[in-house]
Amino acid sequence: MGEVIVITSGKGGVGKTTSAANLGTALTMMNKKVALVDTDIGLRNLDVVMGLENRIVYDIVDVVEENCKLKQALIKDRRYEGLYLLPAAQTRDKNAVNEEQMKKICEELKMEYDYVIIDCPAGIEQGFKNAIAGADRALVVTTPEVSAVRDADRIVGLLQASDLPKPQLILNRIRTKMVKEGQMMDAQDIVDLLSINLIGAIPDDDNVIIQTNKGEPSVTNPKSLSGKAYMETAKRILGSDIPVTIPGKKEGFFEKIKKMFGGNKEKARV
């Protein structure tokens, strides 16, 4: 029996789809079988981010309306063993699917896959309700900006009011230089504000744009800073308790020495 993880944020453009693509790919790179589900009906994007846009035959609405079987709609990613995508419909709207139907799809996928990653649309309307309906766990993506943090807090409240009381936080697009200068809120600030646990801190990385241009998640580039951070996040999803590496966090002289000798056992509290 697999786990259904919904990736949500409230605000648009903070990196839900990028996070879903990267975490899904990272998990398959760790030999897990993963199904990516795009629930952003009408504004689908997970397919282009994954570079699978030319292979869509059926979509999630076809599955719900029984034009095809669930297996037929799932696109197998030939580059990464065990990665599949269930695309959203582009010509319909969020009301084409309801919560019960979504739950059913999740249940069916859970039987087959280790992880079902759901890419949630922006907003708090029907699309959001659908996306979280079948989820076992929620990851909230935000950036260190006031608007994104505010929306994230709203989402956390809504998740807690539903059956997902302990969402975890992915802080995306951290600008190391600005954090160092004190001109951007750091991970600790955001964690203080939202009071949920941090599962990943992703630095702002030009590589994400370059990789997305090519239709490849940045985790596939081992040199990419964001790719590394996503890999680390995926490990934590699997249950590893490695400390979250905070981009831009000042590292003292002693910490550096400790790290050199591999003695940094101290757990990140953030």
């Binding site: 006031v146 505010r150 709203r154 160092k180 200068e181 004190g182 001109q183 750091d186 504000l193």
Partner: protein, 259 residues
Amino acid sequence: MELKEVFEPIVNFLKNFQRKQKDGLSKDKAKERLQLVLMQDRASVSPDFFEMMKKEIIEVIKKYIEIDEETLEVQLTRGFEGEDGTGPALYANIPIKNIKPVARKIQVEEKENEEEATTEEEPDPKELADTIIEEIKDVAEKKLDKKSNKKNKKAEKVDKKESTEETKEEVKENIDKVEEVAKEVTEEVKETVEEIAENAEDTTEEIVEEVVETTETTKTTFKEKLTGVKEGFANTFTKVKGSAKEGFEKIKSKVKAKN
């Protein structure tokens, strides 16, 4: 490259210093603003919750202190400055009218307990009984006040219409009845309590329990009696009304006949 890395922290420090001198770091401003905005958002998610909490707080305070509920205000503010920086605070402004005797009693008892730390004394049964009697008296008096006020008003109205001495007397009788009942009840309670208090062999706990029980029963009987009187009064009142109507009709018909 290396040289740049070495100097980077120093440059950053100087930059930060300069900015802090000017108008503070923008991230601190962001955090401060968010703290406020999130609080408002969170509170507005369920405004009922806030009302509920306010009501419960009032209920608890009302047990001990007489407060002015009209001018009371409770609000969430950005609040206090603790060791970990600023945090949210629940701010309440509660105007006190009077501290209830119960609260004073507790203070006194605590002091007594401190003085006689070795002997664990329960509250004195007689004292307790007195307070209970006081309470019942209060309740009875309040009810009586309301009753007699209403009756007086109604009686006045009837007077204006018919001005028969009969009704006045009946109303008076009713009031007297109610007063008598109240007196009886308080008397009863007093007696039972005193009886229990005299039973020195019983443990104080038992006494307290019994007092509570008896007061409960007397309270209910008092209520029953009161309702009885109420009904009686209602009956007489309808009678009076009836006779008044009749008289009025008679006058009417007489006037008509004359015309």
